[in-house]
Symmetry: C2
Amino acid sequence: MAQEAVTPLSEDVSKWYNEIIYRADMAAPSPVRGCVIIKPYGYEVWEAIRNGLDRRFKETGHQNAYFPLFIPESYLKREAEHVEGFAPELAVVTIGGGKVLEEPLVVRPTSETVIGEAFSQWIQSYRDLPLLINQWANVVRWELRTRPFLRTSEFLWQEGHTAHATHDEAEFETMQMLDIYADFAINEAAIPVIKGQKSENEKFAGALRTYTIEGMMRDGKALQSGTSHNLGQNFAKAFNINYLSKENVTEFCWTTSWGMSTRMVGAIVLAHGDDKGLRLPPKVAPIQVVLLPIYKTEAEREAVEPIVKQIAAELKAAGVRIHIDLRDETPGYKFNDWEMRGVPVRLEVGPKDVANGSAVLARRDIPGKEGKRFVPQAGIVEAVRDLLDAVQANLLADATAFRDSRIHDVTSYDQMKQVVEAGGWARGWWAGEDARGSADESKIKEETGATLRCIPLDQPGGTGKCFYTGKDATRVALFAKAY
Amino acid sequence: MAQEAVTPLSEDVSKWYNEIIYRADMAAPSPVRGCVIIKPYGYEVWEAIRNGLDRRFKETGHQNAYFPLFIPESYLKREAEHVEGFAPELAVVTIGGGKVLEEPLVVRPTSETVIGEAFSQWIQSYRDLPLLINQWANVVRWELRTRPFLRTSEFLWQEGHTAHATHDEAEFETMQMLDIYADFAINEAAIPVIKGQKSENEKFAGALRTYTIEGMMRDGKALQSGTSHNLGQNFAKAFNINYLSKENVTEFCWTTSWGMSTRMVGAIVLAHGDDKGLRLPPKVAPIQVVLLPIYKTEAEREAVEPIVKQIAAELKAAGVRIHIDLRDETPGYKFNDWEMRGVPVRLEVGPKDVANGSAVLARRDIPGKEGKRFVPQAGIVEAVRDLLDAVQANLLADATAFRDSRIHDVTSYDQMKQVVEAGGWARGWWAGEDARGSADESKIKEETGATLRCIPLDQPGGTGKCFYTGKDATRVALFAKAY
């Protein structure tokens, strides 16, 4: 059975992505406009994301809860900017149990409103603060142009919602969660994201400040991979979330929200892929090691398979996620198939290995002979573990080198245009912003298609001339085309 | 701070339940009709259920996936019995992105239809079988009378969906999943459920056969705690799920579905509670051990608290779920509070314990002095583990004794009526059923409020006279009032 080759990533990233998602069985088309089915191979990546984040949330004192899918339409209207931001994207339930509803119910696009209302009931005194809640849920935002994982009408995510006594505590929480997202992205998804603050134009509808982690994809586009919002007292005032202080004074709370979604699955695909297909970081890969028996004759198969199964059992017992491929296909077919699916390590046992007590380990991130070596069967668990660590580290190093090669300092608008046109990120001194959103930024977006991705937290210090306005600037900003 | 006492369970189970769910902070009212907010203390019980089931599903070769929340209305109509069963309970989205939709979208009440359609695309040949998929998701069924966890318009659940080549393989799967539910219910939730088959009247809309696990609650009512359906070829024919056999013949698949929901949280509450509140089995308890420092003076507090924290750290490192209660309340208040919340084990350290190197362990399931004992601080982890095992075993033994005391064999309709009226389950020979649903059963329901809960898998053998019709019967059935 021959397989059509995937469009090489180096030729057309967008086409490659659309093909590889389905070819690698991460998702399947669904009959519902704008929605995909997340298949097991994609869902298991999401499970790895979920487990990695959930552990971090719990370690920092957060608890999971679950709030209703439906939100009364009137709730959304209580925070003016919020409703303006989400109104065009809503799915609305108007019929329930065969009857037209008195008040339509919105399918949650995000849950600040319904959780804000709950917090106003739950919080009475300073003793109830901080309140640190997270929810794993589906949300719906009616999107016109959709792509699997990156932008779908329904997606899965977690949304954290917290309430605090002071601005500074809320800000600490906002930054803590940003750090958790960055830690996960870098150390498990192997994506060297850049932490920064969103501009007024790009911040969350209703937030005081939005922080983001931005990852670079293989076409040089940016992908916002997680956001953390300091909501100030905006939602507290809209939903009357207040508390009695130690001094017996009623005060509004300061709230935050933060989210990461199944979009991160798309980010992992787009940050690491190559012409042959996916390259999954071992820490999030559904299958870390695929084991292949190599044989030509039935006698060879009988000699080889038991050893493959024995090694598989050892690896499984050691907690390695493995798969044995016993399909009746040629080794070449299987190699291509598992390379396309991005399995980090391939383990082969052939007739010679039976005699030698050896096996072959091939790493996905280094192609050809260079990435292959013979190892003794004795101690193979350690060898595999070391190799998985090496692949994980190399994918991060590779993505970091790629990112750094594509970020360019710019001192003029012309330079900036050249950089983003060539698929890079432009970093330049920036004074085009004002407190209520920036017309300069809108113009740049219109003319170049690039947006202000973030004001990086890591700043050079000092001052410079804004590349766009020529004004004195105290901060550099990153501009790029984005997903 | 004094607390109002909960209505004793022995006085009014229904009132007790409604009070305890909110008092113990398992759920909170929501602004959306028929929906509750699942608070952390309730959600963590659900997480224990989810983890316990998910592990079992994966061990038996199932994989998780995620299908769209919305289902085109036309899909539901393809299986005639199915749409008839669910039509009155649907929530319908008619507006998306500000526009009236051409075809309304139903919020999934269950996903046989959309998954059936997907399976018809995914399955080509016998090599693709069996297909073993599970989904963790929210579903919506518009309910008029709702109760937290037991019956809400939106609830969380898992729904397994599988496709097989033959009837027998599908039946094996259906029974395997029933066994998994029973194993979880008995060995983790400590509910001695009875496995059985649903009657034609009570089976799932569109199924060939439905199997159930039925648990007895503290008022003697039955609660259907999980169901497993052999769907025969009904959905395969409606959605054209077929495969090319080894013999090159196109055949319809045989499919199954099976589900357990947040209802199980309510079952755990109602199966174990007592007059003082919840009694949570250690394996599903969010907090397994609550640690209390006992002191009167500040000096005593300073002596006691470090030891409490030390023991807490040891327990936590050993994987025990603990909470230290350092609130500024009396021990009596705290005892009542944690008893109400059903924490299996309370650990106290007082001034005398500091001198003696001891601590007090009190078990929730045995009240008063009998359930308390001094233990040395050295080796306390083992002592706590043993005690948690003992509580787990005792709750199951207690629920089993309660169940057995309330199941009565009946030989006449009068007897049966007396049994169910007194809050028991009536077990009797039954020949009232026919293949298309039973008028006898409907009449019994109308006259007594009791339903045929199941034909237990565990049958006495032989034959007897049907308690209702007097006809010869080969099987006994269980009748009870139910949630």
